[in-house]
Symmetry: C2
Subunit: 372 residues, 2 copies
């Protein structure tokens, strides 16, 4: 594990925000960092060079989806995920657990493994901690995740506690199953929005001494205030000298709030999914490009953005692409939204280094609420 | 019209192929040239820089489609088509005639105009020669087309002759309607596959002294041999000192055969449409990327191609993208197919300059018939 190290450059005085550099076998990730989601070994519609041009340093890919298509062995045979998808920077793969519990039809779940049906062809598959690690070793990402049990957000406390305990049990088995030393394996803290269950999860996982920790089971339907409160009592229980990753989050305001609570890494489908649906994040709040008001608007999508969509095209052109169902609309606005998220985490890094995070948070949240 | 000039650099001895340079207000087009089709002011899924990187010099856009969405006035207000779609090279717009006769429901057609229903919302619209020119002047392409009548390929000779005569009548009115002097207006020769009708059309149009001539009404269902035969007796009737454009053609072999018959300009949706459907043109013939044979094939799509798809990715990855219904598959193979077409016309230019066109034709046609 000598190829990894995490350096904290600055810690904010007013909040728990930190700025750091995470060294991985495929390069350095400056934190706070946002990872665009490349579910099936492609960030939808975008080429690696386009992602790099807007500042993306690390991408996420999905174990469950890749295990089904094209299969982890195929990816391994073809030289691993970096070569397969032509991304030479750091990659993170999730464990597949989230999709097994949300997307597949679960057939049997016990301490040994999850048996489920593929959402594609209904075939019967299984995922154990050992298998999750094997698949992720085949894929070859820089950062891999322990298999966790992800109960529904509104599940009863008994079930969430049982999921916490199973997640801890599985984390130990994942750790033991790992044989590659060039992949950082993260533990995932579960426990819903209850303090005693998050504490139970963290106290079970921290002694295993993972090189980083993820907070899972948030942004699954709970109110933003509940998510922030959960981070308030969860993050301080994670080692401060290791990277902390908030899985699947989130809206720009969620990222600001989570950074203020000590989170370093983020991933979310919003910039690309919303981009394909003509919804753009801008410095002045969200813009819905299908609206008729943009019909002959020659101004750029976001005058403060330096991406291709904003530098080269008018809102009228982008609207035309969506109205005409042209692929380029989703491509350009996905690119813009990723540029927006990258600028956000870059601005947060700068604010941490300048000691101006609290001010940044206040100003930014106020601006986004002003619809242009 | 001083911003245009056409220079012939070489004419082949064995065939009627020629190599030239066509100077337009937005740059020089080396001929033979292939124009990627950007129907709705976007070559589907690709950015202008990507098109230029594979050698595209000029693109085509569709008058009918743009007149319906977003509307020619909107494009004019936004600075014209070049600025709207961020393509600073030459652009050609067709007249809209082909789509009115193939896509819309025709309601009334006489010497005055065509009245038809929009294929999008059924609204009643009309297109006269004067209106076709007005729309194309609003769009602002470098090269614009006369409104022509395009009868079905299997129509009776009486109807095709009537269409020829109406096309000649309309060509004169288009010429009179044109007020901008920075757009080259081309006449379109019609007449199906009968020599006397093509001769009738050419002899009506050539005296109008257009700065270039298009051959329309081919590649509409007739056998390739009929198309080549029609070119044999049509092209020699067009002025040799002006560019000749074969509309909507075609397959790689059609382009080779048409260049050998003296055609300079081409457009076709095949590279992009086939690309979106996982069908690639390669130096060794067509490749269908969905085939299972490519499942774990780490070789490039075409080892002789320098495009991003071939330089950065395996056939296995490209297949995976199509199987997983990922946008990037269509993007990459569209890009590759355009690169293939650009290399084809570039190779043809070189062959004309070297006097090796006949040899090139023989070798190339043989290679494409060998499936890899």
């Amino acid at each position: 594990m000598t190829q990894f190290s995490f350096h904290l450059d600055a810690t904010d005085q007013d909040t728990s925000a930190r700025a750091g550099r995470w060294v991985t076998p495929h390069g350095v990730v400056e934190t706070p960092a946002f990872m665009p989601v490349g579910t099936l070994a492609t960030v939808k519609g975008l080429l690696p060079d386009q992602l790099k041009a807007v500042g993306a340093q690390m991408v996420l890919s999905n174990t469950y989806h890749l295990a089904l298509r094209p299969g982890a062995e195929i990816v391994r045979e073809l030289g691993g995920l970096h070569r397969f998808m032509d991304w030479d920077g750091p990659i993170l793969t999730d464990s597949g657990g989230f999709q097994v519990f949300s997307l597949a039809r679960l057939r049997k779940l016990d301490d040994e493994k999850a048996v489920f049906r593929s959402h594609i062809d209904g075939s019967l598959l299984e995922l154990s901690p050992e298998r999750a690690i094997q698949i992720q070793q085949d894929l070859g990402a820089d950062c891999i995740m322990c298999l966790d049990e992800c109960p529904p957000a509104n599940d009863v406390p008994e079930n969430i506690r049982a999921a916490v305990d199973r997640t801890t049990l599985w984390a130990k088995r994942c750790r033991e199953a790992q044989s590659r030393d060039d992949q950082a394996l993260f533990g995932i803290v579960q426990g819903g929005i209850r303090e005693e269950l998050r504490t139970r999860s963290a106290s079970g996982l921290v002694p295993i001494d993972f090189p980083g920790y993820a907070v899972g089971g948030l942004s699954v339907g709970e109110a933003p205030a509940d998510m922030y409160r959960t981070l308030d009592f969860t993050v301080p229980q994670l080692p401060s000298e290791k990277p902390r990753y908030l899985m699947g989050v989130g809206r720009p305001e969620d990222i600001v709030e989570a950074v203020c609570r000590g989170i370093d890494l983020f991933d979310c489908v919003m910039p690309t999914r919303n981009g394909r649906n003509a919804m753009a994040f801008t410095s002045r709040g969200p813009v819905r490009l299908r609206n008729a008001v943009h019909r002959n608007d020659e101004s750029p999508l976001d005058p403060e953005c330096e991406c291709t969509a904003c530098q080269r095209y008018s809102r009228a052109y982008l609207r035309h692409l969506f109205v005409a169902k042209e692929m380029l609309g989703g491509i350009l606005v996905s690119l813009h939204n990723i540029a927006f998220y990258q600028k956000l985490v870059r601005d947060l890094r700068i604010a941490v280094n300048n000691g101006t995070v609290a001010e940044f948070r206040t100003n930014q949240l106020a601006r986004w609420q002003t619809q242009p």
